[in-house]
């Protein structure tokens, strides 16, 4: 019987989606050759936010780790860029990559403390640790103290080079985050995460190493958020500790993921689009766009917990990034012959 079942991992939509994805990626890669500097800055922002949101989606949507402290890694990425670029003296583009690795390294001791807490208290615990990193930056005069620093090495680059390089790094972060989450979910770790999400105790009894799976995800998310943070500050150039470590980074991630659809790869892409539309619509009204985003997120959470993408999925069964394994039964007559 089992031999006649086939495991289906791709759909027509996903094959078409892959083609469209490659086409979109190619088009996005050529942006520096034709777009204005202003449009490029906006795209850098969108791609880095997508990377951040995708990382939070991996944490909360798949590993059950509701972190409110991901701003820690954005800030570490920012200061890592400054440290490796200005203090060590490597090229700023390379420094951005090293900053991501530094964030991943710091994610390990952070997890050591935060993983002692569960659920809601894990959420606030990660927030406290982010505050510790924030206050350490504020109190370290080597890193500019409370007034912050300018990333001199990046500012010294020729303007066109910096803008193009920053854009391509942002594209690598955004597209890389999507591909990373997709690859993780299709791997053995992805199966373990799905099992954990459905039932922790049952997963553990089947031999899934809970702590290890969660730690790997947490470190990957640290890497992604650190790299995105470094790229954001390649774009902004001026690092202020209060802004680099603000909880608003995590608020953006959460709102984007919740509105778009938590636990789907398409969701954060949809959510990022909604984020920018709302922000541009309300651009003349101060921080009301954050109030609107929060309001939409709360309503979505209560009315359609799967987010906007789940509404699409329910209606059209559309899966652009299929991570599930579907069993296809053999045709009916065969089954009757072989009960």
């Amino acid at each position: 019987m089992s031999g006649e079942l086939t495991v289906v991992r791709a759909t027509t939509a996903s094959r078409l989606g892959a083609v469209a994805g490659v086409a979109a990626l190619t088009a996005l890669a050529t942006v520096p050759f034709w777009a204005s500097a202003g449009d490029m800055r906006l795209l850098v922002e969108a791609l880095t936010l997508l990377a951040l949101a995708q990382m939070w989606n991996l944490l909360a949507g798949y590993a059950g780790l509701v972190s409110i402290g991901q701003q820690a890694f954005v800030g570490i990425g920012a200061y890592g860029l400054y440290y490796f670029g200005d203090k060590v003296g490597v090229h700023p583009f390379l420094a951005a990559g090293l900053a991501g690795l530094a964030a991943a390294a710091l994610a390990i001791p952070t997890a050591g403390l935060a993983f002692r807490l569960r659920g809601g208290y894990f959420a606030i615990g990660t927030w406290v640790i982010a505050e510790v990193y924030h206050l350490l930056a504020v109190n370290t005069s080597y890193l500019g103290g409370g007034s912050g620093v300018t990333v001199g090495s990046a500012a010294a680059l020729e303007r066109g080079t910096r803008e193009d390089g920053t854009y391509w790094l942002a594209l690598a972060a955004g597209a890389g985050a999507v591909i990373l989450v997709y690859a993780v979910l299709r791997s053995r770790l992805g199966l373990a995460l799905t099992a954990i999400r459905d039932n922790e105790e049952a997963a553990e009894s089947l031999g899934v190493d809970l702590v290890r799976a969660k730690l790997v995800v947490y470190v990957l998310a640290g890497l992604g958020c650190g790299l995105a943070g470094a790229v954001i500050y390649l774009n902004l150039l001026r690092i202020q500790p209060d802004a680099a470590f603000t909880v608003n980074w995590t608020a953006y991630m959460i709102f984007i993921v919740v509105i778009g659809g938590i636990g789907t790869i398409e969701g954060p892409i949809v959510g990022t689009a909604v984020f920018f539309v709302l922000r541009e619509l309300l651009s003349g009204y101060g921080t009301w766009y954050l109030v609107a985003l929060g309001g939409v997120a709360v309503v979505v959470m209560l009315a359609a917990p799967g987010g906007l993408w789940s509404l699409v999925q329910r209606r059209f069964d559309l899966r652009l990034f299929p991570v599930q394994r579907r069993l296809r039964l053999p045709p009916a007559p065969e089954r009757e012959a072989n009960p």
């Binding site: 659920g119 959420a123 350490l136 109190n139 709360v298 959470m301």
Partner: protein, 289 residues
């Protein structure tokens, strides 16, 4: 001697943190809900009182008698109308909804009251103090705050152990389904718990506003201090929150004594040290999942 003074001031500051922590602990104990808007609601209470005082010229101490019941009603309605719906699923929904509320509250307060620092005038009690020695003097206001926190904890403890409603609260906390079988309406119990929690939060916010200036953005820090007090003291222990608050307060004032920028950071580090060595807190009676 200045170190002794730092410790004394820290103990008194702990009373304020206990005021912040009590509601967080109560709500978590009764319905396993972590309210991420806890700190922002206390700042809402303080701004509400500012608005009342500005509009009517009322004495803040009398205005307090309006704000505390107002926050009780807000809490009751918030829980009954909104948060109860989030409790059915996993832990994700309540966290995200309260986090959304936190961001909404912060930004609405920012737009309505601007980013300017505001304060509440408590009268002459703010500046008068009892002199113990040349270096040590105890301010009347911090002392009153401390006493209020002890009275509040005592009243809550008594109400929880002696009254019919208190028994219903404890029964629901222990086992909501069995409590329901005994005819207890969980939704109302949860709403009541949130109402009580926000009434204590109103007290905390107003005392904070009388003690120091405040702005719309400081809510999250209040949530974090409350949370640290709860974890240091030990989950599920009402008096533990007072001990946790005192430990946190002393860590902050002693840290600030070492270097002015290190107060809050020292508090966080002490919290992390407790988390690393005694994850269930100093006074937890039981380990709860």
């Amino acid at each position: 001697m200045e170190w002794v003074n730092a410790v004394v001031q820290g103990i008194l500051l702990g009373g304020l943190y206990a005021l912040f922590a009590t509601g967080l602990s109560l709500v978590f104990g009764v319905m396993r809900l972590v309210n991420l808007a806890h700190g922002d609601l206390s700042i809402l209470a303080a701004f509400l009182l500012v608005a009342i005082v500005d509009a009517t010229g009322l004495d803040p101490w009398i205005g307090l008698a309006l704000v505390v019941p107002a926050l009780f009603v807000i809490g009751y309605v918030l829980q009954y109308g909104l948060l109860n719906r989030t409790l059915a699923g996993g832990e994700l929904a309540p966290l995200l909804v309260t986090f959304g509320l936190s961001i909404i509250l912060q930004n609405v307060l920012l737009e309505v009251f601007t980013a300017d620092s505001r304060g509440l005038d408590a009268g002459s009690i703010e500046t008068s103090s009892i002199r113990i020695s040349d270096q040590i003097s105890i301010g009347w206001f911090p002392l009153v705050t401390f006493i209020v926190s002890i009275v509040l904890l005592s009243v809550l403890q008594l109400a929880l152990s002696r009254t019919r409603t208190g028994r219903a609260l404890r029964a629901t906390a222990d086992d909501p389904r069995t409590a329901q079988l005994q005819g207890i309406d969980n939704r109302r119990i949860y709403a009541l718990a949130m109402g009580i929690a926000l009434a204590t939060v109103a007290l905390a916010g107003v005392f904070l506003g009388m003690r120091t200036t405040f702005g719309p953005a400081i809510g999250p820090a209040r949530l974090i201090f409350a949370f640290e007090a709860v974890i240091i003291g030990g989950l599920g222990s009402l008096w533990g929150t007072l001990v946790g608050g005192i430990v946190l307060g002393v860590a902050q004032t002693v840290g600030a004594q070492i270097s002015p920028g290190w107060g809050v950071l020292t508090g966080h580090l002490v919290f992390l040290a407790v988390l690393a060595t005694r994850p269930t807190g100093l006074f937890s009676r039981q380990v709860r999942q």
